[in-house]
């Protein structure tokens, strides 16, 4: 019960805090709309306007990915800057349960992106928003957010020892957007990229959303996203335990 309360309260607190951050609102809304706009024009220029809804969904998930990535990169760094990292590590609650609500909150902020991108596509480009399976879509959205939030947990865990996590976030934004097939069909990429894409929750979350929206059976992808999420929890918990101990041992916890 305490665990649920800790995660719920932390999630709510971070949602409120992040919603007041200009940087996060920008990350969640502005950049996905920019990428969506460029992609829409590119698909129109190529004479394939029928793919615009497909691209809009991809740009929307990119927004969730983007806010998760920057949130995960900043999760540890912000605590360092604010001088609260040692206090959080020293608290009786497991550090994992302290960081988890933050990464979940950053991916939840991606809801703004989903709405903004689809709304922008509707208003500026006249892209119809018609869902083939509304119920499945309603399930796929939170599952995708959960999957991305837990992936963010893995990043946050590995960033404990890395002083320049934000730079790593900058670097990872476009590659993951590319290899998870958010805006490019995976069949166009070299064959060796496919196994990499399978390891990322956005790949499966995206497929689930597209199947639910455009027609198809999204349940297998929803199940894989949840399964990957469970794997991420295990990896993140192990990483966080190891890196937290190493940081305490080498006295690098508060290094900025």
């Amino acid at each position: 019960m305490n665990v649920v309360r800790l995660v719920w309260t932390g999630w709510l607190f971070h949602i409120k805090t992040l919603s007041l951050s200009g940087f996060f609102v920008l990350t969640a809304v502005f950049m996905p709309v920019v990428v969506a706009t460029v992609a829409f024009y590119m698909f129109e220029a190529g004479g394939r306007p029928g793919t615009l809804f497909w691209a809009a969904l991809g740009a929307a998930v990119y927004g969730i990915w983007s806010s998760t990535l920057f949130g995960s990169g900043g999760a540890i760094q912000w605590q360092r800057w604010q001088g609260t990292l040692e206090i959080l590590v020293a608290a009786p609650a497991p550090f994992f349960l302290v960081v988890l609500p933050l990464t979940l909150a950053t991916s939840t902020i991606g809801i703004y992106s989903l709405c903004a991108t689809l709304l922008w596509g509707r208003i500026a480009f006249g892209i119809p928003f018609t869902l083939a399976h509304p119920l499945e879509f309603a399930v796929a959205v939170p599952v995708t957010i959960l999957g991305l939030g837990l992936l963010g947990m893995v990043f946050a865990a590995t960033f404990v020892l890395y002083r320049h996590a934000n730079a790593l976030s900058n670097m990872l934004e476009w590659p993951v957007l590319l290899v998870t097939g958010l805006l490019v069909p995976l069949s166009l990429l070299p064959g060796w990229v496919l196994p990499i894409s399978w390891a990322f929750a956005p790949t499966w979350g995206m497929r689930a959303l597209r199947d639910a929206a455009l027609g198809g059976n999204p349940w297998p992808e929803i199940a894989i996203t949840l399964l990957l999420g469970a794997v991420y929890v295990g990896i993140a918990a192990a990483f966080l335990r190891y890196f937290e101990r190493a940081a305490r041992k080498h006295a690098t916890l508060s290094l900025t």
Binding site: G22, T27, V34, V38, M42, A167, P185
Partner: protein, 261 residues
């Protein structure tokens, strides 16, 4: 002599001290790896859309990515003075303002050019894109002009950064606008006229167009008009940025808002 020293040595010192991306741990992922993936992303979207050639996207994005080193560096180099509580010392010094502020732009131009050149070379190798050997000098020149004009815009944004709190947000917005309006990924013929009009007064638009023509085999002379426009746009932004900084300096003294974060 002291003015030249202030311009070159002062500019370089400020750049080294205040541009936070210079550490290899930040520079390599942010300014060498990320632009390559930006090129690859738009090349693959382009292939998926069946729109333009790989060369089109390589040229557009290699030049457009210079926005990151230009705009972020200029905003950091000016706004960091305030956060480190050194802006007051700078502004009470008798140093002439022109070499003081514009000198900071020179290392930014050089760095942005190097980032674009690196993206061109590595991107061309990965995508197996080749340029006529006669065009390489011309492309390098317009890339340098693009770096200059965007640094001018960066100084202008830096001036605005002295009165707004979220400079990182501002720099990201500028990056996004440049991605849309400069025709880095969409040909001018495919966007509405009002977008073309906006793009015409932004850095990169003319340089990208010139570089694409050069890559298609045009002579440097035939794109000189575009090159001059790019230079002119950069000069206007640089002048606006400088005047903005001088004006804000006066304003901050009269209202005592110099160190307000």
């Amino acid at each position: 002599m002291s003015t030249a020293r202030l311009f070159f040595v002062g500019g370089l010192t400020s750049y080294r001290a205040l541009f936070g991306f210079l550490s290899p741990a930040i520079f390599i992922p942010s300014l060498l790896v990320a632009p390559i993936f930006q090129v690859l992303l738009f090349v693959y979207i382009g292939r998926s859309a069946g729109a333009e050639s790989d060369t089109f996207y390589l040229v557009g994005n290699a030049i457009q990515y210079a926005a990151v080193p230009c705009v972020f560096a200029m905003t950091q180099i000016v706004s960091e003075e305030r956060y480190q509580q050194t802006l007051g010392f700078i502004l009470v010094s008798p140093a002439p303002r022109l070499p003081l502020f514009v000198g900071r732009a020179l290392p930014v131009v050089v760095n942005a050019f190097c980032v674009s050149a690196f993206t061109f070379v590595v991107g061309a190798r990965i995508l197996d894109v080749s340029f006529p050997s006669s065009s390489i000098g011309g492309i390098a020149l317009v890339t340098l002009l693009a770096a200059f004009s965007c640094t001018g815009l960066g100084l202008f944004v830096a001036a605005i950064g002295l009165v707004v709190r979220e400079t990182a947000v501002l720099a990201n917005v500028v990056f996004g606008l440049l991605l849309i309006f400069t025709h880095a990924n969409v040909p001018a013929s495919r966007t509405p006229a009002w977008m073309d009009a906006v793009g015409a007064v932004l850095p990169f638009t003319h340089a990208i167009e010139a570089a694409r023509l050069l890559a298609d085999g045009a002579s440097l002379g035939s794109v000189s008009g575009l090159a001059w426009k790019e230079l002119g746009i950069g000069t206007v932004y640089l002048a606006a940025g400088y005047l903005g900084l001088v004006w804000l300096e006066r304003l901050s003294r009269s209202r005592a808002t110099l160190e307000r974060g």
